[in-house]
Amino acid sequence: MISQYIVNGLLTGGLYACLAVGFSLVWGVLNVVNMLHGSMVVLGAYFCLYGVQQLGLPLYAVAPVACVILFVFGYAIQRGLLNRVITQPILITLTLTFGLDLIVNNLIIHVFSATPQSLVTNFGTIEFAGVRVPVVRVGGMLVAVVLTLVLYWLLRHSKIGRAIIAVRMDRHAAALMGIRIPHIYALTFGIGAFMAGAAGCAMALIYPVTPMMSGVFLGKAFVICVLGGLGSVPGAIIGGLVLGVVEGLGTLTLGQQWATSVGFIMMMAVIVLFPTGIMGKKGYE
């Protein structure tokens, strides 16, 4: 039975990782606690739902479009609004994204309604040694992890990725090297939004989507970000998996009502004992 709990935790953790990676990147690079992130995940989910259910398109065609729309949205938000206050104390950008979150979330309610909606699929389950693994969850987790790894590779090996890391390390030095800081900021926020869109599409396969999920998603992203280390892409994967498994074991030992609290207690312990998080020590890539 314990193996079932661990598998449950890993499957959930994989989704958590995808959820958190964009949030972590934006916080790590821009020093912006993006309160809008949860609503962007929900927006991505609704775009996928709309494309599949209303337009009759296959998910593999809709998901990339949803991600690109989110990227453009994120880029515009950063370029048009956040860049204007980016040098202000973190509370200013936090408040601004909080306000944007309220607006976007209410718009989602008005456009898509608050009634739960989901992509109903039936890919079956795999059973191995008494452990049941739903295929859709494995698929969702794999897509999430692969995308996260691709992002990690791009940050380390592409020109833009190196520029993002350079800006995070020393904004002024990067500017002197000819890097266009406002563009890199907007690009980073756009990538964060792109990843939120991808997470949203994966969530639409698994969860009944409602606009109110944004708060839950944001809370999870926050915990994972602190666990894994700010701005660390592999940290988001590790943090997500750890949170998923710890919540599972928390249910087993303390009961379902304490499962979420266990994650937050762990976050507080990490802040006190390892302020850089599990993977946050080496850098911001």
């Binding site: 709990y5 449950n8 979330n105 309610i109 739960p116 909606q117 409602t210 999870k220 998923g244 249910t251």
Partner: protein, 399 residues
Amino acid sequence: MKTTTSIIAALSFAALSAAPVLAQETIKLGAPLALTGPLADAGAKSKQGYDICVSAVNDKGGVDVGGKKMKLELVEYDYQSETNRAVQIVQRLINVDKVPFLLSPYGSGDTKATAVVAERYGVPMVAAAAATKSVFDQKFQNLFGVLFPNDMITEAEVAYYKKHVPSVKRVAVLALNSLFPKAIAGEMVKSATGAGLDVVFNTTYSPDTSDFSNVLTQIKGLNPDWIYATGYTQDLILIRRQMADLGLEVKVLTMTAGPSYPEFKENVKSLAENVTTNSWWHQNANYSDNYLFGSSLKYNEAFNAKFKRDATYLEAAATAACQTLAMAIEEAKSTSADAVRKVLHEKTFNTFYGPIHYGQLGQNEVNAALVMQIQNDKLLVLAPENLKQGELQIGVPKK
């Protein structure tokens, strides 16, 4: 230019002079609504229920107050699903908007919090979505609830399944940690234990739970015959899906109150089959209503024409809350709170929702609990016998 200014001035004067007259012609009903936030879906349904009542009353000329026809006016604010905001809004409705009557916010918790304000100011408040006894046992004189108490529902369910599935012995209860789900789960445990069933699992989950696979793995290990889950519809959808993922099979699966809403079926498709639920109302009960809609079925027809879907107990209860207020005002022949409150306590209102008698405690005392099940994509009434539309199907599909 001078002429235009004169016309504008004259029109403004006319409008200003007319305003008090118009205000006297309407009866304001204050409605704090959860239009955004976690309860937005339920809030929107409540609003539909209120809207259809107000338009139906006004279409027939309004409320007859001692021979004078007065139209209803809904004064609504979004309390964003936040209890504190609901309390502030009720204060505003009473002190600024001067509403003489209130409709409560959604759910037992928010109703209980706002009822304190209504009681302090002596403004009658009718609750459409609060069934928990602890909301009504405070001996408030101004709080009235359309939904009869939770235990009437759980007693009816336990009696029905004990009779029709005698092999059901072991029950697992899972509830959202919120006032109503916890209360009905508590009543379920009491009813089941009282009937000699073994409650093998009883726990709550927090409102920000995003995964039920672990708790369902725990339940699976206990091999229950009957799972009773209660919470938000989106939670119940996820629970049903994850039950299938984990191969968790039971003889009876009861969910409160998600399966009453069409979105439950839409989100789980074939997994909705044989899921049982309960309800305070269904159009097939077909109660007659001489005041407004004619009957339950006619109410549903009117609702369907306006909103393009069937009404659930939630919208119907909202309409009934508004309707009983209108009926009480007519009976009292006055809009005075004292006169209307007296009628609300004493009269039995025969509505499309069924007979409603608020009594001295304020909560509807007329038990009309329905046991229901989804069969072939339709929500059928299993009990009571006189409304029965089908026989219980035992077991739920694996996938």
